[in-house]
Symmetry: C2
Subunit: 439 residues, 2 copies
Amino acid sequence: VNLKKYYKAEVSFGFFVFELPRGTRDFSPDDMYARRFIENKLRQVFQSFGYTEVQTPTFEHLDLFTAKSGDQIIDEIYSFTDKGGRNLALRPELTAPVIRFYVDRFQMEAKPLKFFYFGNCYRYDRPQKGRYREFTQAGCELIGTNTPEAIAELISMAYALVRSVGLEKINLEIGDLTVLNLFFNVFNISSDLKDELIPLIDKQDFDSIREVLQDHDFSLQDIDQFISILQPRTISEFQLFLLKYKDKNAQIDISRLNSVLTLIQDCFSIQDVQVNLGIVRGLEYYSGIVFEIEAPSLGAEKQICGGGEYELLPLFNTRNVPTAGFALGFDRTILAMEMEKKAMPVDSLDYFIIPVSEEMISYALSIAQKLRSSSLKVDIDLMRRGIGKSLKYANKRNVAFAIIIGEDEFEKKAVLLRDMDSGKQELVSLEDLLNKYKQ
Amino acid sequence: VNLKKYYKAEVSFGFFVFELPRGTRDFSPDDMYARRFIENKLRQVFQSFGYTEVQTPTFEHLDLFTAKSGDQIIDEIYSFTDKGGRNLALRPELTAPVIRFYVDRFQMEAKPLKFFYFGNCYRYDRPQKGRYREFTQAGCELIGTNTPEAIAELISMAYALVRSVGLEKINLEIGDLTVLNLFFNVFNISSDLKDELIPLIDKQDFDSIREVLQDHDFSLQDIDQFISILQPRTISEFQLFLLKYKDKNAQIDISRLNSVLTLIQDCFSIQDVQVNLGIVRGLEYYSGIVFEIEAPSLGAEKQICGGGEYELLPLFNTRNVPTAGFALGFDRTILAMEMEKKAMPVDSLDYFIIPVSEEMISYALSIAQKLRSSSLKVDIDLMRRGIGKSLKYANKRNVAFAIIIGEDEFEKKAVLLRDMDSGKQELVSLEDLLNKYKQ
């Protein structure tokens, strides 16, 4: 009764209220089959590197995110007050929650901690291709070590994740905020000027960088040199380039970065890597070595992975240990796979069982149950619609074999097995059919 | 700089803002390993029954849920207004969203549609054991058929899901709102009185039922008979019980229910099932056959699964087809497994590699990478902490074998393989180690 009243009201208002919320998505069986397949591939890579999975709630206290990213993040966050007056927010990212979890429960555990996770995140953004209001991220945090081998392994794992789903057209670029700072010193760039430049460097807005430096009376030669520092280079190009600064009255010590780069190349066998000191990451909390992986096929929203070393623990009034991590955009990874025309895995059924008459339903169900107990995917006609229509339905469901059961088959304790590809049919005894899967 | 300012403010206020939101949970690596294992078990069962996975957004328009469950649900829902003025709600359940998805995209598809899903749901409830503000549900919807075999298969799948994770102490009870209505007619119970009784029946509050019927001048004999209808019985007890009504000037036609019960017993081989016409489910939208699975070990919050046939499509101003489904409480299922002392699966590492000195790190990393490419779980000492401490760490990580690499091993192109259980060590050539996993 209640329902009918509402239904009438809805019709009388003349609009249809039950829409998908703007910027969100439903996923069909085809979507989900591919998404779970990819999720499992990624999980396997995380686990092969000794990372273990964690999960945090979908919402957190709003403070956690404003503390990390500043009040301006409120503009793009889904925040709300719960019935107990708490200011909560749908998480826009997963690092702050995982670090909160670490502080709560794992501070006393043996280091390093290697956590990975999958989770949905939320941003109130203008929806567009590759940008949704609810999106899925994979990611990880490495807590308690910052040796070159630890950072090299972290970056190599990001690369391995992206490659594990078959992506080939990707760019891995590594930056180093410590080394960039050394260059700021070489050029006598003040702390204020640095704060002005960082966002421009992040945007690769070289014209504006040039203007700002001109305004501060830098020589054209210095400006050219500074901008050339921010260009991507192969590892060997980068090492050659650095020789220029040997005589510049400054020690540009990049031994740590060099160790990381060498390990990535030699031990993790990644050749298509570039050094780009212009990679500073959008967020203020990064420090040390940072990196990004792009899929240029995606156009404007081409970054599919990014991360590096960061400082977040001071916020928690707790003992500081090294932290690093990265986030991998799950949705963009799938978009990139589509751009590269990677074949997505397709779901199928092992058997579709068709009882020819009502009397055969019991026998058909029993056979279905026996096959299912061997972990096979088995469906059965539940609409009593006859052979023709059932075969048509089975075709749509991507079935390997149809099992047709009439009185003849029942009496012979057999089934008529139809290969859905070739259309060939043969009578098979029930015993033979089931024995195939016994172990 | 920004961060430090905040950090100081926090300390001066003297409280710690970064708490887990009330009623929510973090999941540790041990938790997640078990949860993913159980999720995969359940997914395999859904798939073996020919169901395919779908996913909908975490939030929906609030209207969707108030239309289904009435305005009173707002009291226990997380609702909020987004920056575009939309009234949204974190989903309290998954059936309405999945039916919305069906109406949007699958109305023209061949029937039946068999959808399953996993998703987090949200209720603003007083948190207690087995009741969280964010909780995980598994579930499914069967759209387009209501033959006895379809309903029997649905209920049997629910039972198979619960059994697949090893639960043994469970009760499956099946009710039928159509049959219950027939009994209402037999006893001349008016529609208003029925509305009064249904919530009491749902709560199994027999004292109040007795009172209400007395107030309406029912004879003590009729009251006893009516209450006896609402008791759980085995299938054969139920069939015997029905004979009483043969002479009661009424056709109690339970042939459909009987067909479903017979199929469940005979084809799906489920013996421990009871008929309980007192199962009416809390929600108004159920119709026809309904069921519940309880794990009595859980005490007050013992229901782990429930569902049945329902009417939701009329709400969508669209062609009505039969719908049925159920929800399985993922968290309660795990609690019930713990109560039954089921061993939870435990994560492990295949290898933990220990470079004895800094010079061995490259060689160690290369070996790690080679083993990882065979999908093995391999970790490596990233803290340069020496053999003793590394072995201690490896022990905590549940490692099968440690691989110790010193200069001797390096020169012999070998590794020292240590069985972490027995402590036995042997020198193994790198070739032999890697060949073990080549295919």
